[in-house]
Structures are given as structure tokens and as C-alpha cells.
Chain length 472, copies 2
């Protein structure tokens, strides 16, 4: 018997001990089930062979897992709905998958203080639906809003279409309960509107991708229900003119509640996917909404129309019909599945990038993106949160063709480099995970890299919290 086998046998015995400390049935050792939980939605990120899967039902379950992991020096990968796009939730060899999607209770909704407390597995849209009954809203709306969890949203600082007016997940996180690497349970942050008692530890945990602790409860600040928007669509001959429109419009102090861009190839894919009433044969579309009250929305969309036309838009449609608004947002939300369908016909490869550049650089970004598209033997189709400068160029390629795969990876990297060259970031909202861990080192300077390592080592001295993710 080899040493390796011995070690595994001993670990299987240990797992039986762990099982006895968990909610009944929480520990899964069936290989097929474990492996079915091994990946999130990122491409080119390896999924390791986990020792076991824990479908946690309670904070006690999480504590038991972390104590066990600390005792046995076993890596732990915390997961929610595994809708991430960076491989952060992917299994590591000989790790435990700690899935908290089943901890999905809305603990409390407090209309007076306009806050709520939720477990990490609550689905974003489910929370929105529950809050609507109280006339409240939780704005952050990542593309995965219907299927992703609040815990995952917090762990990745998720964004979405609302950010241009309403900010990102971190702007809503007041407090959280976290299970630390050694199983200690701690409450971080505050329940109040303001507070400066000590370091802002919730802010450190937001976006930490499971590398510093496991979030088991979150207190979120809420807003009153958002006013319904009116919508405009601008048609452009090319992405650069659309980009310049965004630069000028946002620079004028406009505060749209949504400002999304779809380039020509993306519009084609969406039109092939379903009928959302989009025009065909366009260079680019901008969808813009305003929910300003008291006539402000009309003013804001009229201003958009002026700026768009001055920058070469051939036509701007404005509508205050809620059905049109819903249809256009549905079209934007259809970009993901439409691209997936299209990529499937081209060999299945699709790498979604997520650079964010200063809004002043959008015109130049699109001009240079066209050069990247021309340089590599792949297709690049782009949609994104233009109002924030946060663009998602998708590289579509034949995943079965080695040369295409290499080209796709080079194009993907060239897009990130372009983002950095324009003073931007390699990731506006998708996170680092495994996919961009080497690239994080390009974005951060030596001091920032050292601070990351120092904080990681301080809070996770055994290196058991999602090792190999984020930190290259």
C-alpha cells in the first residue's frame, strides 16, 4: 500500500468524524455528486478532485468544517450557486467544497431602518421579490441575478446594470457574520447607518472570494422601491461613436439608472436568439434609462438624444411604455445565453472579459478593441455597462481547435492589457479567482501585492481558505 493511499484512507475515516458533527446528510462523499459541484461558470480554470462536499445547513456546520479543516490542514473552497466567471469557486485537489447555497433564509426585513439580514444562500432575485412587498429594494443586479446568491454576490462584490446610478454590492453591506479559518464566529460591521468603530472589516471581506473567511450572514442596507424608468435606444454606426457618446453624456453630470452598450455582433446574436425588437445591422446600440422623478427622466433622455446625435447616432428612440423598457432590459439580459448559443455553433469556446476603463477612455478603448479583433483569429463581441466604463468583450472561438484556443487566450490577455494601458482594471465586477490570478500581479504594484500576502497570511495562517485563488 502506498503512502498516498494510506493518507486517503485516513482522511476517509476523518470524514466520518466530520459527518457526525454536521447536520444529517450534509456531508456528501459520492464522487459523481462531488464532481458535479467542482466548477463555476469560468472557462480555462481547472477543477480539482475534492475530498468531499458539505452542503451546509447552519453556522454550526460551517464552524465544524473549518475546525476540521484547520485540524487536518485541508483546503476549503466555499461556494454558493457557482455562477461565478473566474473559477473562484472551483474545487482544489484534496479540498472540501463548502457549499452554503442551502443556507437560504431571509432572517429579517426591517422597513423602519431599511435593512435586511440574510443567510448567504438567498438568491438575489428572491430577496428583491421579498423586499418589494415592503416597498423596498436591494439594487445590485448582476447578470446572474435570477440564480446567484447574496453570499456569492458579497464574496465577489457583484455589480450589474444598476451600478451606474446605484453602486455595487459593497455599497450595501453594513455587517456580516463570518466564520474564520479556525472556526471562530465573528460579527463584523454595524447595524447603523454610520459607524467608524475600528477597521472596516466587512469592506475587506467583500470581494475576498472565500480567501479570508466564510460569510454566513449579511446585513444589507436597502433603498425605497426604485421609481420606474423610461427608456431610450440609440443606434450608432460603430462602437467608438457610442463610446464617445457615453463619455460625453456621463461627463455632463447625467445620472441614468441604466446605460448599456451592445456592439453589432452582439445585437446579431441577440436577434438570432429571440425577438426583442432590436434593429439589425447596427454598429452599436446604447440602451439608456432614467428613473429621475418630477420630469427629470424626460430631461435626461432628451439630453442623451442630443449627445448621441452630436456623436453620430443615426437614430434615438425614446419610450415611456413599461413594456418597451422590460423588453429592452430582457434583450440586454439575453446577451449571455445568446452568446452561449452562438459560441456553441462556432465550437463552443467563449471567454468573457470584464475590463473597466475610465469613462473618458471609452472611445479609444473601442478603437483599439477593433484592432485586437482584427489581430487574432477569433471573434470578439462586446456588451457591457458602458455608463461605468465596464465592458465585457467576449472572445468566441472553436474550443476543439488548439490554435484557436491559443489565439483566444492571447486575445483575452490583450484585452486586459488594453484595459490596464488605458488606466483601467482587469476586472470591473467578475473578480480574479483562478482566471486572472496571474494578471492581478500586473495590475497591483509591489507594495499592494505584499499587503495582500500579509493580510492573507495573517487571517489564514495555514493557507486553507481557497488557496491558489486571487493570490497568484
Amino acid at each position: 500500500m502506498s503512502e498516498g493511499t494510506l493518507q486517503v484512507s485516513s482522511r476517509v475515516d476523518d470524514l466520518a468524524t466530520l459527518a457526525s458533527q454536521l447536520s444529517p446528510g450534509a456531508l456528501v462523499t459520492d464522487r459523481d455528486v462531488i464532481d458535479s459541484y467542482a466548477s463555476d461558470k469560468a472557462l480555462f480554470c481547472p477543477a480539482g478532485r475534492a475530498l468531499g462536499l458539505i452542503r451546509a445547513r447552519s453556522v454550526d456546520d460551517v464552524v465544524a468544517v473549518m475546525r476540521f479543516a484547520t485540524e487536518h490542514r485541508i483546503p476549503v473552497v466555499t461556494q454558493g450557486a457557482r455562477t461565478g466567471l473566474s473559477g473562484a469557486a472551483n474545487a482544489i485537489d484534496d479540498s472540501l467544497l463548502l457549499n452554503v447555497a442551502g443556507m437560504n433564509e431571509i432572517v429579517a426585513i426591517d422597513p423602519v431602518n431599511q435593512t435586511c439580514r440574510v443567510q448567504p444562500g438567498v438568491i438575489n432575485q428572491d430577496l428583491k421579490t421579498a423586499l418589494a412587498e415592503y416597498g423596498l429594494s436591494y439594487p445590485p443586479d448582476p447578470g446572474s441575478v435570477a440564480i446567484s446568491t447574496i453570499g456569492g454576490n458579497v464574496a465577489t462584490n457583484a455589480g450589474g446594470m444598476c451600478c451606474v446610478k446605484y453602486g455595487v454590492t459593497k455599497d450595501y453591506v453594513r455587517a456580516m457574520t463570518v466564520v474564520l479559518a479556525d472556526g471562530t464566529v465573528t460579527k463584523l460591521g454595524r447595524q447603523t447607518a454610520k459607524g467608524v468603530a475600528g477597521l472596516d472589516l466587512p469592506a475587506l471581506l467583500v470581494g475576498s472570494e472565500g480567501t479570508l473567511g466564510t460569510i454566513v450572514e449579511v446585513t444589507l442596507a436597502l433603498k425605497p422601491a426604485l421609481a420606474p424608468p423610461i427608456t431610450a435606444v440609440g443606434i450608432f454606426p460603430d462602437t467608438a461613436s457610442a463610446g464617445r457618446t457615453v463619455t460625453e453624456y456621463m461627463g455632463s453630470g447625467a445620472s441614468p439608472s441604466l446605460l448599456e452598450l451592445l456592439d453589432g455582433p452582439t445585437v446579431k446574436m441577440v436577434n438570432d436568439y429571440g425577438d426583442f425588437g432590436l434593429p439589425d445591422d447596427v454598429g452599436a446600440l446604447l440602451i439608456v434609462q432614467s428613473n429621475a422623478t418630477g420630469g427629470g427622466a424626460v430631461e435626461e433622455l432628451e439630453a442623451f438624444q442630443r449627445v448621441a446625435e452630436a456623436n453620430g447616432s443615426s437614430e434615438v428612440f425614446v419610450s415611456d411604455d413599461p413594456a418597451d423598457s422590460e423588453m429592452l432590459v430582457a434583450a440586454r439580459r439575453a446577451v449571455g445565453p445568446a452568446m452561449e448559443k452562438y459560441a456553441h455553433t462556432r465550437g463552443g469556446g467563449e471567454l468573457i472579459d470584464d475590463v473597466c476603463v475610465p469613462r473618458s477612455a471609452l472611445g479609444e478603448f473601442f478603437e483599439k478593441l477593433r484592432l485586437i479583433d482584427a489581430q487574432f483569429d477569433v471573434e470578439v463581441a462586446t456588451a457591457g455597462h458602458a455608463g461605468d466604463g465596464n465592458m465585457h468583450p467576449s472572445v468566441v472561438f472553436d474550443a476543439g481547435d488548439e490554435a484557436q484556443v491559443a489565439q483566444a487566450q492571447e486575445a483575452f490577455a490583450a484585452i486586459m492589457q488594453l484595459g490596464l494601458d488605458l488606466g483601467g482594471t482587469i476586472t470591473g465586477e467578475h473578480g480574479v479567482g483562478f482566471l486572472k490570478r496571474e494578471w492581478l500581479g500586473h495590475e497591483l504594484d509591489a507594495g499592494a501585492r505584499l499587503m495582500h500576502t500579509q493580510i492573507k497570511d495573517a487571517l489564514d495562517p495555514l493557507g486553507i481558505l481557497n488557496p491558489g485563488k486571487m493570490f497568484g
Copy 2:
């Protein structure tokens, strides 16, 4: 010659070496000048005897100080305008005072991206004035707005009257350049509207009170110039009814741009200090403003009037005259000097507390605050940012009377305990510093305390960054 004297002689020689590495005249060794920089505005916080004062003029100066401090294991206390209220900027024995108030350049204002880059010594109001020329605003407005620095505002996560609608300092910080304990210069954060590349290190530095690094440049997000507000004043028989009004009004989803409370004793002090048109003999006043556009402001103040009257307000005045608005804000801003003047007549003692409670608890907070006022042989006068639940009860006492001093300290502590008992925090915006370092341990649980220590030790292994502040 004693060992102590030897050590001091050697340090004086060392300081000469340091001086040669700094901008000409940056190092001050004149004892009187050093001592005149030894304190911020907090009471009951000891000021130590610093070795020297460096009036830094450049990042290089800060780097030289930190390298020197690391080499010689000398504590460094970073300071701005020393307007803080927690003793965070107070000298420590044998420390270096690193004053960055002279690094006061507005490096860049970027109207297109609505950001600016500023050195830490820029005065908040000076930045506001410069931005107004571009039609831009930086909302955070601590009471010290006319005299405090952006660096200090960031290091303490300063708040103010705008927070109820526009948030606090941390909501505006995108990036910063920091000099770490060993003199390493690092850029943290991003210039873009969104970004999730790595841990949110700027958020960790915001509010860190000089314990993790020295901030030498900040990139701030800006807003378009704020719309001018209209104003209402509600008169109440007591603070509890005013508190209940705030709870109900804010719970209705109102979004006032200012919602301040002054209790009866405070109103008296302000009226003794100057004529701001405030009524006399009131239990409490609420000042509320709305700058909602398109008729929204009038609606919001009418709603306030209804809620106030339903909760016992005897009268609500509404005005859309900008002069009235300015006068009332001036009255609120006069609370500080008015209390100081009053306290002077009572023996000079004034301890300003800074608890923040959930808005739902404001009624109960005021009821119990009255009991504290009655229990101790001191006067308690309260003003504060009621819309955020962030109240500043001031304990006024005879600083020359030992018994009164003891009573004042007990009352001060009782107010913090009341804040904690109601689910609040010991500090909404003033910070921990020296004044509340023991209390931080009461607010944080064991896990959070450990995380603080781990992070502090990781980023400042020699313990030279403002030691003894924040961490008890």
C-alpha cells in the same frame, strides 16, 4: 551620564541625519513648536513628548521619515489639521510627529470622469470651492469642513450633515497612494467607477487613523453640483418626540439632504452665541432639508410636516428662501463654538460623544439619555445627525472640579453603553483614537478584535504606526 541621556543624545544625532534627507526646514526640533503640535481637539487624551516634528512637503519626505522610523524603531504619529475629537493625532512619547498638512495641492480635477486627485493636506472646504468652478461637488461635510484636511477626513472616515443622503467619506474614496511602515510607496484601489481586482485595500485604510500607513494622495469620486435645498424647521416639546419623528419619517423612505436635531439646551446655547433666528424655549428642533428636483423637495418637506405634527410637533416652518436655509445651517454649524463658549462659563469641560443607533431606536435613545442627564451631576446637551441616528450628546462640566470630571467621564461612558445597548456603535464618525480605545473592545467581539490585531501586526510588524491608538 545616565543611559537615558545617552540615548537621547544619540537620537538627536540621528535626527540630524534625518533632516538631511528631508525638504529644507521640514524637521522641527524646537520644543515649543513640537509641543504646539502635540494634540488634536479631544479632551482627556494625554499628549506625549515627541522627539521631533516633520512638516512634510513631499512623498519623499514621508518615505524618509518612515525609513528612518523603521530603522530606529521610532513611533510615528501622522497628523493633518489636528481637528480630530478622539486624540488619534496626539503625540506619543519619543515619537515623530509627521504632519502632512503642508502637502496641500489639488493635483487634478477630472470633470469627464468626475474624479479628483488631492494631496492629504487639502482643506475640505478648499476642495469644495475649487470643484464648484467645474460644476462638481465632494459632499462629505464634517463639522470641521472649513479647517480639516481631506487626508484626515479619509483617515477617520469623516461624516457630516450630508451623510443622510450622500454618504460618508469612504463612499467617495476610489484610490490612494500610501507610504507603508517601512517606507514603501504603494498605489491602492482604482481610477475607474468599478473594480474588483483584489482586496479592497483603500477601504481598509479609510478610517484606520494612521495605524496602517500614511496616506499621501487620494483619488475621490465626485458628484455633479448638488441641487439647492429648501428647508423646514420643526419645533418639538421634547427630544423623544423629535426622535420618533425622525424614525417614522426616515422609515417612510424619505430622502432628505439634511436632517439635524438640536435639543433645548443646545438651542439656548446657540441663541446665546448669536442670532440665527431660532425660537427659544423649545424641547427640541429638527432642521430638515430636501434638494429633490422637479417638485420632489416640496413633497418631502410636506411629508415631514405631517409626520412631525402627528408626533407632537407644535409648529413646522417651511421656507424656500436660500437665505433661511443658509441661516439654519449656520445655526447648526454654530453648535460647536456655542457649546464651547457655554462650557467655558461652566468651567471649560466639554466631552462630545458620538454614538450612532438604529433610527428605530431614536425615541428610546432620547428617553434614556434624559435619565443619564439626571443621574450625573453634569449637563448634557445634544445635537446631531438625526437622520442617520448619529447623535452628539455633549457633557458639559467644570474641568477644575475633580468630582465633576469623574461624573463627566461616567456620563460619557454611560452614553456609549446606551448606544451599544440599543444596537448601535460607540462612534458614528469621530473615530476611536485614544479616547475610545478601551471601548472598542466592548463593541467588537473576540474574533473581530483578533482580526484587528492580526491585520495591524501584519502591516506594521514593528508597531511604529500610531501605537496605542484605536487598538486598546
